[in-house]
Symmetry: D2
Subunit: 141 residues, 4 copies
């Protein structure tokens, strides 16, 4: 994520926001965000939101997600906002929206509904995994 310049701009219990600048790595020839990039950032935001409600000895895996692409759009900043819809012991359901931000105006470009699973961190990895997971998944290092 570091190479993309992503930033975790909001982290609350049950919700996160991620922002990153538009770059040629994220866009197609026409300047619009690539569906793969939109999906990856929506998945990342959803996973981070699920992590905020997971037990400390759990890591999270994406079981499945559905994405609707609503409108192509370009801008200066690309943001994804995810919220926990239901936190269960094993499964967490999240909703997330992706936005293109241009001149301070936000336009929704896609929406995701996902199912995320909390699984125990295996003992051998226990000491560092939560941290490394957080680093790997939620913090642009």
């Amino acid at each position: 994520m570091s190479t993309l310049g992503a930033e975790l701009t909001v982290v609350v219990q049950g919700g996160v926001e991620i922002r990153l600048p538009f770059s040629p790595n994220l866009t197609q020839r026409d300047g619009y965000l690539h569906a793969g990039a939109i999906t990856a950032v929506l998945d990342l935001a959803s996973g981070c939101a699920a992590l905020t409600v997971a037990a400390g000895d759990k890591k999270i895996l994406t079981v499945e997600f559905k994405v609707n692409f609503l409108a192509p759009d370009a801008g200066e900043v690309f943001a994804a906002s995810a919220q926990v819809k239901k936190a269960g012991r094993t499964l967490t359901v999240c909703t997330a929206d992706a936005f293109a931000v241009s001149d301070g105006r936000e336009k929704v470009v896609a929406t995701m509904l996902s199912t995320i699973m909390a699984v125990p961190i295996t003992p051998a990895k226990k000491q560092t995994s939560v941290h490394s997971l957080a680093l790997r998944r939620c913090v642009p290092t």
Copy 2:
């Protein structure tokens, strides 16, 4: 719908709410709502929401939907609330939540993300179809 006692309790541009009493037709042996009943009412509410933003000479068809079942619950009243997320010329994307209402307290039992298509009403059916569609789909006659 009439036999179930459904009622269209809110209709605004881009959103509707449907409420109906719990009944043995909707529930399993344990008193919880049946997944099929939840899905049918979420689909109905989403279709009605899409209809509020469709052109007058169009009818709507469900292209696809995804439903996450969040929690089993029982109650006295079952409600579904749907909102248009994006209204396009051909395709409309809706989100909808289903609730079990008990002692005035609402609990979300399921959530839907759907894609709905607006198609021209064929000429021969034009005079009565919008009305009959509305009656058939959105009003418990």
Copy 3:
């Protein structure tokens, strides 16, 4: 299911087929199958398929599903065929197709991709639950 005349026509490890005659309970005014009925039978077939690979002390719950409606069609018999795509310890993923059968010709009317969870049968219900679940969910009694 009994009132609809449903029949479990194929049961193998990881797959089932359900058939039922078209009836006014399943169809709209135009004779086409109702989306709610299609979804309910696809969900039922998927749950039964998941049950064929579940441990004996587990019952199954639908976590989520997505349905694409492919074509409206009428016929004499309505069938749903479900297959286990991946059987996990906790989660099972199934695909299922719904068909309208007319003059021996099958036409696909919808397809489902679902996530199903195996959960322990609670001790108090252990003696009868597998059986009653099977009866309730998979056998038209």
Copy 4:
């Protein structure tokens, strides 16, 4: 795609297969394929499959998709196979599977169910767009 070394290994009416070697661009630290990479290649394969049944004056857009992640796996080659489930005038529904190939053995790692829309190529772009779309979307240039 060129930098990833992707190759369109099968193209038939209604189906395609894409293969590409595992590389650090596609994998996480553990050597498993990244969900974002899996999704992007499934979407690409589905779009190419839809293109094989689209009219020559149409380009395609992904409306929505659902992906289930079935198993993490590593290998030498990563493949995605997509089939058209239903080709309509406006909307095409595709299924696609992603595989990790190791020692000649294929293992399914994810499955997608998607809705793709055919839209007219705008006149100004008509002469080159089908070709450039094909190049951009389906051929690793």
